[in-house]
Amino acid sequence: MLRYTINRVLLMIPTLLGVAVLVFFLLRVVPGDIVEIKLRGDGGSVTQETIDMERKRLGLDRPLYAQFGTWMVGMATLDFGNSMWTERPVVTEIAGRLELSLQVAIMATLIAVLLAIPMGTMAALFRDSWIDYTVRILTIGGLSIPSFWFGMLIMLTLLAFFNWLPPITFTPIYVDPIANLTQLIWPALAVGYRYCAVTARMIRSSLLEVLSEDYIRTARAKGVSEKLVISRHALRNALLPAITVIGLEFTFLIGGLVVTEQVFNLNGIGQLFVQSISRNDFTLIQGMVMLIAAFYVLVNLGIDLLYAVFDPRIRYNA
């Protein structure tokens, strides 16, 4: 198990390195950078000299490999550089917004998992009944309705019935739990719907697969009660693929947050990402991409290790 773990941890390095190379050079393929947006953005005429000076100050005039080297060396010491726009450290920029986004993500996960497990299980157990059809329509809806539009519908409803508009500032949960929860439950619901749909579909299909296995028939044949067959034999085996989906979708929540935070006017990671993209803030984009990739790789590692714990064949073959 130890060897397997070390092996898997070492495999993370080339992936992260690849991500770093990819994002760094991708951003610099086409000429044009933050300086032009910063200085010429509002239509003012600026001399080439000023632009060159600003470029020099930000280190954008140095050869690409030198810039990349500096960035890599910095990252090795956990220094991600400064945002080119605000000039504050990338870590500070991200840290200030992480709390909000992480809370929305965790709430969305709770909503999604708590709804998806009963939905997926019921749909599989009562296959082709009205329950199954309802779940299938609801879940395909979850895959089709854009989370930002769903968020807008929630806002529209809240406005029409309760005359409620999202507050402008964020209240942390330790300051005022009620204000915090009433603010964040809606975006969590908006991103959680898709998450729930994906998970419920996965649970349904993997449960259907497990239910046709021989050991289920054996369990039924030896007289185990149906309740135990489902909870002990079927669900336990069907949940492993579902855990994979839950884990992967959790890392992919950032995709939903990018748009949903815009709708609810939340100053989180998603909004920071969109801002840095529209400003061509290279260092901040790079920092956030590395954060997302690192998060994804870690969650993947967790899933792999979990599989290895549950299924000894994996750790022996590796």
Binding site: S144, L156, V258
Partner: protein, 297 residues
């Protein structure tokens, strides 16, 4: 003496039509096809179908509620929302289809190459795929948008198509590789190799046709994703720009300022996006059940 062969009665062999067969087996798929067809019709013949010019600004009817003249109401510039939705289907389809087609095709080629050549090439392609897979589709698309900036050819946002196509590549490559790997060990491939066929011939004549099913399924499924991605990017102000009619764009910016006065500005474009994505998702699902029931996306 010749014996005339008895004239065979003309047997009308009815070729089982694949389309009819599909409709019978997958009624939901047929319904989704009708929606897709209607959307394509609206997209291709927008000028004929749309009651108004989508760009025509009419200050006399700002934020007009849905009425007989304007079925879906008008927006903050007095533009007819219904017409903008119809023209928007053109944007959605062009970007959705091209990016999904480009992404899926490149992905399929990479997947087949990876499976066929194996070894070092396979390792490199898989590493590359792993790296691209570390991002949600929309996040990678955003990074590519930042990299390529605005770039249009003939009014079509090429940068947007590239941005949406790139995240599709690794997802298709992985599935097609798996499918191609299972084809590669089939006896008929050995037979082809034994017969001395060139690798190119084996790839194109023997492997490729057998991974067409997953390719088609992924292609339709990713049209849905691509339409969703285009709507999201336009919503964020990083995709299609004004005054072009695009569904996501119609929901962005000032649409949200009019929650109270003009909820129709938010309702209809969202319905259009959801319906389109729903139809392509459902169609992809039905296609999968029809072509290859064991296959999972």
């Amino acid at each position: 003496m010749t014996i005339a062969a008895p004239a065979l009665p003309a047997i009308k062999t009815r070729q089982p039509s694949m389309f009819g067969d599909f409709c019978r087996q997958q009624p939901l798929g047929a319904v989704s096809f009708v929606v897709i067809f209607a959307m394509m019709f609206a997209g291709i013949f927008s000028p004929l179908v749309a009651p108004y010019d989508p760009l025509e600004i009419d200050f006399a009817s700002l934020l007009g509620a849905p009425s007989w003249e304007h079925w879906c109401g008008t927006d903050a510039f007095g533009r007819d929302i219904c017409s903008r939705l119809i023209y928007g289907s053109r944007t959605a389809l062009v970007i959705g289809f091209t990016s999904s087609f480009a992404g899926s095709s490149i992905g399929a080629i990479l997947g087949i190459a990876s499976a066929h050549f194996g070894g070092k090439i396979d390792d490199w392609i898989q590493r590359f795929v792993d790296i691209l897979l570390a991002f949600p589709l929309i996040v990678l698309a955003l990074v590519v948008v930042a990299a390529f900036r605005k770039f249009t050819i003939g009014g079509v946002d090429v940068n947007l198509i590239v941005a949406i196509a790139i995240p599709i590549i690794p997802r298709v490559a992985r599935v097609v590789r798996a499918a191609a790997l299972s084809v590669r060990v089939m006896p008929y491939i050995d037979a082809a190799r034994a017969a001395g066929y060139s690798p190119t011939r084996i790839i194109f004549r023997h492997i490729a046709p057998n991974v067409v099913a997953p390719y088609l399924i992924m292609l339709t499924a990713f049209i849905a994703q691509a339409i969703l991605a285009e709507a999201s990017l336009s919503f964020l102000g990083l995709g299609v720009t004004e005054p072009t009619a695009a569904w996501g764009l119609m929901l962005s910016g000032n649409a949200a300022d009019f929650y109270r006065q003009a909820p129709w500005m938010i309702l209809f474009p969202g319905i259009a996006i959801s319906l389109a994505v729903f139809a392509f998702n459902l169609f992809g699902d039905s296609l999968r059940d029809y072509l290859d029931p064991r296959f999972k996306v």
